[in-house]
């Protein structure tokens, strides 16, 4: 079986959620099939400027075929088209929305042409992230062999008129969560398309060293952890506000450690410490050393770091306004969630004051991870989907004969 993974950008140094998700799945499915990645030459998701050379290179044993972006994104023009199309989500004309998609990029007609010409060379095409030019036009070109991993968030974009037909086009859809599936089904009425809630596993560490982490980073006392881009869009400003108020109201000695690149001015609160970007191993050690993980983002299609915290047997305190996170906490019985400062204060006080509860939630988290997000489970779900599509095709061929 030969699989092509189609994604907007790809590289070992690219940390974006969907792109990393794609790389992990491609590398794991390479144990079961011949895998190739088809992507653009871009590395930056703002401009999509060509960065990598066009052609084929091998990354972690996977051939990666790159295609040039015809023109990088013009931020001013993209902003104009966004202003024209997005506020009227679901009411714009398809022509306007397609133009917006082209402006969003990565505008790589070469990649789409390659898919059209080489459709017979592959058994299945797995597209990641529904919202990009390469996915929309590429998937429509090879729809009878396509699987889509939408990585959709509840940001209103799925209601643009061009996307419901996209969600009805592939042979199967691989969802990250039941909430994502419900949202897409609600927007596109695609119940006839086969689907499975799969998600993604993680690159797990061989061992954890929480004491070493505390020593190396000079961390003392108990602390909550945030991992990810420190950004207003990720709910970090509210998290800082809530955390400082919590310490003021309760006199708690709890600290807050931040791991990741910051695009937000950090508060001058000595209890909040920014460690910057850490290696994967050190991030895992931080997860093992913390009391809990804070996940303040409102827009998440899966949140890999939440799953990783659960594997490390740590409880999570998540933003209840993100349906996916709230649903994951309920299903796993491994995290609490807040919709207001009062709930944040009560939840955090409970987790801080009752380590037994934190341990119990953490144990549930590990069990949930092993049952749903361990790599053998994820790989099996993908392989079963491929097998089901092939079986359906065989039945149709036999019926036609």
């Amino acid at each position: 079986m030969k699989l092509a993974f189609v994604v907007q950008r790809y590289g070992l140094d690219i940390a974006g959620g969907a792109e990393y998700h794609c790389r992990l799945v491609a590398e794991h499915l390479a144990r079961h099939a011949q895998v190739e990645v088809l992507t653009s030459c871009a590395a930056d998701y703002i401009t999509w400027a060509n960065h990598y050379p066009e052609g084929v290179e091998v990354l972690n044993g996977i051939p990666v075929r790159r295609f040039r972006v015809k023109r990088p994104r013009d931020p001013e023009r993209f902003a104009d088209w966004s202003a024209r199309v997005l506020p009227a989500a679901g009411r714009g004309t398809p022509a306007d929305e397609l133009r917006w998609l082209e402006e969003e990029g990565p505008f790589s007609p070469r990649l789409v042409r390659y898919l059209e010409r080489h459709r017979q060379d592959y058994d299945f095409f797995v597209f990641f992230s529904y919202r990009y030019y390469t996915t929309y036009h590429g998937l429509m070109a090879v729809r009878d062999k396509a699987l889509l991993v939408p990585t959709a968030e509840d940001d209103g974009l799925v209601r643009l008129s061009i996307f419901p037909p996209l969600f009805r086009a592939p042979r199967a859809i691989v969802y990250n969560s039941v909430e994502e599936r419900a949202m897409i089904a609600g927007a596109s009425r695609n119940q006839d398309v086969a689907g499975e809630v799969v998600g993604v596993g993680s690159a797990l560490p061989a061992q954890l060293d929480p004491e070493g982490f505390r020593r190396r980073q000079a961390v003392e006392g108990r602390f909550a952890l945030y991992v990810g881009r420190i950004d207003e869009n990720k709910g970090c400003r509210q998290m800082f506000d809530f955390f400082s108020r919590y310490r003021h109201d309760t006199g708690s000695p709890l600290g807050l450690l931040l791991v990741g690149r910051s695009v937000l001015p950090l508060p001058a609160d000595p209890a909040i410490r920014h460690l910057g970007f850490l290696s994967d191993d050190e991030k895992w050690n931080a997860l093992a050393a913390c009391d809990l993980l804070l996940m303040p983002s409102r827009y998440e299609s899966l949140s890999m770091v939440t799953l990783e915290a659960w594997w490390a047997q740590r409880p999570v305190l998540a933003n209840a306004k993100c349906e996916v996170l709230r649903g994951q906490c309920r299903r796993s019985n491994a995290g609490l969630y807040y919709g207001s400062y009062e709930e944040f204060r009560e939840c955090l006080a409970m987790l801080e004051g009752d380590p037994g509860l934190g341990r119990a939630l953490g144990e549930n988290g590990r069990r949930y991870f092993e049952a749903h997000y361990a790599w053998p489970v994820v790989e099996r779900k993908y392989l079963d989907l491929f097998a089901a599509i092939r079986a359906l095709d065989a039945r149709r061929a036999a019926g036609a004969a």
Binding site: E76, A79, D80, A83, C329, R330, S332, N333, A334, G335, L336, Y337, E342, E343, E346, C347, M350, D354, G356, L357, R359, A360, L361, E363, N364, R367
Partner: protein, 186 residues
């Protein structure tokens, strides 16, 4: 006494229900957020007791945003208000956009003015939220003062009762000694 919580026994939804109940209990006797917002938007001066404070400022700002704020987008610079001629003028300006960009870069100015317009709206919202918070604190203060008065009243009552009881004990002792006999009390 400490005990171990079993992971199987944890029910996140039940915990969250408990947390919400506790929050509700804490709010009992105080105004809800909705009520506070309503009061703040109706008659702020009544609560704030600030005579020079315009209690209707939020409504004024909201109703007349065009007067106190400006709208600025990427196309504002190129617009015209001269009807049909203006539309033609706008098209010409649009066509000449690439040429004018040879002389200067309007993007930083457009971005700054657009951001300023957004900031103005945020400041109004911030003022509004501060007023709501101040109202809430004032109401809580009044509530605490009332409770303090109630407690003071109860304390006085208890003190008087204590004195009366003390007097009764003295009176009974006196009565016993005055009676003289060693008979059993009735």
């Amino acid at each position: 006494m400490s005990f171990e919580i079993k992971a199987e026994g944890v029910d996140v939804e039940a915990i969250m229900r408990g947390i919400r109940q506790r929050i509700e209990q804490k709010r009992e006797g105080l105004y809800s957020d909705e009520e506070i917002r309503e009061i703040a938007e109706r008659r702020l001066d009544g609560v704030l007791d600030a005579h020079e404070f315009n209690s209707d400022f939020i409504q004024d700002f909201r109703a007349q945003s065009g007067r106190w704020n400006f709208q600025f987008g990427p196309e504002t610079l190129y617009r015209s208000s001269r009807g049909l001629v203006g539309q033609l003028l706008e098209r010409v300006r649009s066509l000449l956009k690439p040429v004018q960009k040879l002389f200067w870069n309007p993007n930083p100015m457009i971005a700054a003015l657009s951001r300023q317009s957004d900031l103005n709206s945020y400041y109004v919202l911030l003022l509004h939220n501060l007023a709501v918070e101040l109202t809430k604190l004032n109401l809580e203060l009044q509530e605490l003062k009332n409770r303090n008065l109630q407690l003071q009243g109860r304390l006085d009552l208890l003190a008087r009762r204590e004195k009366t009881l003390e007097g009764m004990v003295v009176y009974r002792d006196d009565e016993g000694s005055e009676g003289g006999g060693g008979g059993e009390p009735a």
